[in-house]
């Protein structure tokens, strides 16, 4: 894999003394989708703004496609498209013109055929002559994506692309992202919807209080940190867990009807067979059984919680 973005020990301190980024390092390969996950105020937007040149880093080094963002900023920025969190568009200008403007800003020659391609891809072609103020929120966000893609960037930053967007639009946005990935665009998105990261990311970076807590392949992370729970529903409620079952560290729900067994999916022996036999031996009759896998959300909450502790 070719490295496309390298962030080395980037710090950002504001004049108030607040340190928004405390030595962030990141290595991102071409063609992958990275989700930057973190609670509000974790430093996600500051990190993206610093990479894209909207704010300057206090210290550290950033390079995009091998070009230093400070010394070779023109070459570096040519590779980057940014979709900001807030929907900001010139209200009186048409979709076509505002996208053309973005392409021009990045020093590219006018190419209406290319802009037509992106607008069609983003289902905006029939709105090309509409003023941006006449569009719906979802469409305006897609105009921002079209602007960010207008100069054919290799890296696309999506800052909370689905914040405040309804479920249907969110799914639509994910489809757009998947399509961009197929075109070979590297995508870095920030989100605080874990579901989003789980759905579309290849790798997940968790950021909290200006520090990257971890960066890992999503599937590895889920496998490593993920636990499964076996829920055993009983025919009749019990008040206490029989002492014969003490070794399993079971939990009993408040109604006394369900026993919950937590186990590691990676372990050689999950102990389920023996547990079920022991439950039967303890004289409890089963009504139903189900397994539940922990989500990225649980992992995330655990991580951020540990960090706060």
């Amino acid at each position: 894999m070719v490295n496309i973005l390298k962030v080395e020990d980037v710090r950002k301190a504001f004049p108030s003394g607040f340190e928004a980024l405390k030595g962030v390092s990141l290595d991102i390969d071409e063609g992958e989708i990275i989700a930057l996950l973190g609670p509000n105020g974790a430093g996600k937007t500051t990190l993206i703004s610093t990479i894209c040149g909207i704010t300057s880093a206090t210290s550290g080094k950033i390079s995009i496609g091998g070009f230093d963002t400070a010394t070779e900023y023109r070459k570096a920025r040519n590779l980057v498209g940014l979709v900001p969190q807030e929907i900001t568009l010139e209200p009186f200008e048409t979709v076509m013109n505002t996208v053309r403007f973005s392409r021009g800003l990045f020093g590219k020659k006018r190419n209406d055929a290319y802009i037509e391609k992106i607008l069609k891809q983003l289902s905006l072609w029939d709105k090309k002559d509409s003023r941006t103020m006449e569009l719906s929120g979802g469409m305006r966000r897609r105009v921002l994506i079209a602007k960010a893609l207008s100069h054919e960037p290799r890296v696309l930053f999506l800052d909370e692309p689905t914040a405040g967007v309804d479920v249907e639009l969110r799914k639509e946005m994910w489809e757009v992202v998947a399509e961009l990935k197929r075109d070979g665009v590297t995508i870095i998105l920030t989100t605080h919807y874990i579901e989003e990261a789980e759905e579309i990311a290849d790798r997940v970076a968790v950021i909290s209080k200006g520090e990257i807590l971890l960066i890992e392949q999503k599937d590895d992370l889920m496998a490593r940190m993920g636990q499964k729970r076996l829920k055993v529903e009983l025919q009749s409620a019990i008040e206490t867990i029989p002492s014969d079952l003490a070794e399993y560290a079971l939990a009993l729900d408040s109604k006394g009807e369900t026993l919950v067994y937590t186990y590691d999916t990676k372990a050689d022996r999950t102990g389920i067979t023996k547990l079920l036999a022991d439950i039967a031996a303890a004289g409890l009759a089963l009504k139903d059984i189900q397994t539940v896998e922990s989500t990225l959300e649980d992992i995330f909450v655990d991580l951020v919680h540990e960090d706060a502790a």
Binding site: P84, T88, E93, F101, F106
Partner: protein, 253 residues
């Protein structure tokens, strides 16, 4: 130099102007006509010739300067303030362009618009009074330098302003009085000595005087001094913009 970017900014800004072309065109025509009705016909007929020209003709250079200066400032400031206000400035900051290119794009467009207004006023004035221009080249040069300089000043104002009130404040409280007291409608020599001396501290006096010289060949202050003043002001604005460029003042966090 990222020329496509300069062109993109310039075109985008000019598009704003052309969207409101009727307003941009009609408003200076009407206000100029009103000035001629009030100052030229009603009051002017009772005023003797000033420096050898009729009063109606005499006010033409001042009238053009009045509009050109205010238009330059308002176009220059609004052009950069608006992206700051609505947030689209992120695009300028993340694009592979430098501050000089941004300035050329915005200030170029603002100056072009102001120049257009200046020409419209000159054409309108031609319907009311006879105008002969003694030094056409100098007239064009003064006009172009004034639009550029005050568009630069407007740009600085647009960067500085943090709300619409501040955006209006400087033109309203400083620039308009300076223009009116800068001899737009009178010759400085008509004032009592003390006010003549005070007027010499008003930079606009030098501009209007120089511009009037280009029209009529006579001036309140020597033409060389006027030239010097406009260049000094231009360099001051460029210097300040250079400083903004270096520090990212009010633009980059």
């Amino acid at each position: 130099m990222n020329f496509p970017a300069i062109a993109a900014i310039y075109r985008f800004e000019m598009a704003r102007f052309f969207r409101t072309l009727t307003q941009s065109f009609i408003s200076p025509v009407i206000s100029t006509s009103l000035y001629f009705v009030v100052f030229g016909a009603a009051i002017g007929s009772r005023i003797q010739e000033v420096e050898g020209v009729s009063y109606g003709t005499f006010i033409v250079p001042g009238l053009i300067m009045l509009s050109v200066i205010t238009q330059s400032i308002s176009n220059g400031s609004f052009g950069i303030y608006f992206p700051k206000f609505i947030g689209t400035i992120y695009e300028l900051l993340s694009a592979p362009i430098n501050f000089l290119e941004i300035v050329i794009g915005y200030v170029g467009a603002a100056a072009t618009k102001a120049l257009f207004i200046g020409v419209v006023i000159l054409a309108t004035a031609n319907f009311f009074v006879d105008i002969t221009i003694a030094h056409p080249l100098a007239m064009v040069m003064f006009l172009v330098l004034t639009t550029i300089t005050f568009s630069l000043m407007g740009f600085i104002l647009g960067i500085w302003a943090q709300n619409f009130e501040q955006l209006q404040l400087v033109p309203l409280l400083i620039v308009t009085p300076l223009i009116f007291l800068g001899g737009s409608f009178y010759s400085i020599s008509m004032l009592p000595q003390i006010w003549q001396t005070i007027s010499m501290f008003n930079p606009v006096v030098y501009l209007i005087s120089g511009f009037r010289w280009a029209f009529f060949g006579t001036a309140d202050v020597p033409i060389a001094v006027s030239m010097f003043a406009i260049f000094a002001f231009l360099i001051a604005c460029l210097g300040f913009i250079g400083w903004i460029f270096k520090t990212g003042w009010r633009i980059r966090k």
